[in-house]
Symmetry: C2
Subunit: 273 residues, 2 copies
């Protein structure tokens, strides 16, 4: 699992340890063995999830466990037909949850008044922090994971299938199982591009993007996976197909399945302003 000498994920050797080695060895796994998971895995992963920081100890995350084959198949269909959703022995759905807080208010006979954009953010962050801890815990046990954002492609259908109450939503899914195949770790943007000293600084951006483009083009990762883009087709000039081109083409049109997220979440009971 640990790969202290990973050139894509540099860590000074005197700061290397087993925990950091686990973090930097993360890759998304999309092909799983049928092997059952160890007994007690849900207890371990849930405790890891609950150990993450949470805004004001409000604990605004619920986790739905899906192991039923039919249900995994249905969810897989709702997630762009991603096979690993049906294939992985365990599928978790992390849900920001204000419904529980509303119930707590009702129970205490107090109004539920704090429910605007800030609480959407708090609940979403709570759920994301839980998900990351689960990912780390699972990987430390030799399991592979893949976060599934396409759980939001048909967000209302997934909410219905999982019986989610109002003021919750499926933020991210996670496939978990023993890896049948594991890709090498993916290079990330040069550190200087994302790290800013004292104030946000774009002076290294262009150089960083050039360097990353070369690195990513060389991995061959985009071979046969070019994003279709009308705007790109209409351009005269030829471009290196690296991270910048791949990313810009993705961003050149609204997400085909998630353009209406604002309204969909409203229909799921979320309030903004």
């Amino acid at each position: 699992m640990a790969d202290a000498s990973n050139p894509h994920r540099p860590v000074p050797s005197h700061l290397s340890n087993l925990v950091i080695d686990t973090l930097i060895s993360h890759v998304s796994v999309r092909d799983y063995k049928e092997d059952p998971l160890p007994e007690g895995i849900l207890e371990a992963l849930t405790t890891a999830a609950q150990s993450a920081s949470t805004s004001s100890n409000l604990q605004m995350c619920s986790i739905v466990v899906v192991t039923d084959a039919d249900k995994k198949e249905q969810i897989s269909q709702l997630c762009d037909g991603q096979r690993h959703v049906a294939q992985a022995p365990l599928f978790l759905v992390f849900c920001p949850d204000l419904y529980r807080l509303e119930q707590v208010c009702r129970r205490q006979n107090l109004p539920f008044a704090d429910r605007y954009m800030e609480m959407f953010i708090q609940a979403t962050v709570d759920a994301a922090l839980c998900a990351q801890n689960v990912a780390v815990a699972a990987e430390s046990l030799g399991l592979g994971i893949c976060m599934i954002g396409s759980i939001r492609n048909h967000i209302k259908d997934v909410a219905k299938l999982l019986g989610l109450p109002p003021r919750t939503y499926p933020l991210v899914g996670m496939t978990i199982g023993y890896p049948a195949k594991k890709n090498p770790t993916k290079p990330r943007l040069p550190r200087e591009v994302i790290l800013h000293q004292e104030t946000y600084d774009t002076s290294g951006l262009e150089e960083g993007l050039d360097a990353y483009d070369e690195i990513m083009a060389e991995t061959g990762i985009y071979r046969g996976r070019h994003v279709e883009s009308e705007a790109a087709a209409n351009r005269k000039e030829r471009r290196l197909y690296g991270w910048c081109e791949h990313t810009a083409r993705r961003m050149s049109k609204p997400h085909p399945k998630r353009r209406d997220m604002f309204d969909s979440l409203k229909q799921l009971g979320w309030e903004y302003d």
Copy 2:
């Protein structure tokens, strides 16, 4: 650091390992030693951050490093005067970032069209996942951390102070340093309350809340920290002051400093629908 026998954070012993022990030992640290951090710490923490999952490899997180004493003091003032923000040797600000993607589109001569609610969520989750990995990496090195949500109390002022460009925002701050004082781990909601098998299930909610109320009241954590609430003052009946009462009182009024988050983020260049 590791506490395999922590009764608040149960993990089956055959699944216990150093990584999981680190995760379940998390406590927020609000009092730091002056000791300098190890050389290379930023490299290690940034690599940990960048190793987290990221939607479509879009890497929508930027991190602003604050070590300047004056600046930490200013930020501390903007964060409800929380002393540990000024005191900790290192303060990081995790920023969801669509600005960079906009620049990438411009660079590739393509329109930046995918920028609605879904992208707000993706960027926010990316930043949260990075933050959690940094927390885990720091704690594995014997450092303490505290996530600072009050960085959003005066979100536009913080954005200005950090020179953040449009389509970014300060999601969460993080104090990092060697702990001068460390509290015991905080009990969390019973597992059954947050974990749902196949579908969301509220059947164990009341019992779980009762149990948690007792546990939290017993910790004495709310002593001298009762939340003022007009609605609670107007109620006739007496209530146990546990997690439910503390939480319901918090939720009984909109957040005093973050009621306008929706509009503030709009002014920072975020688009929703």
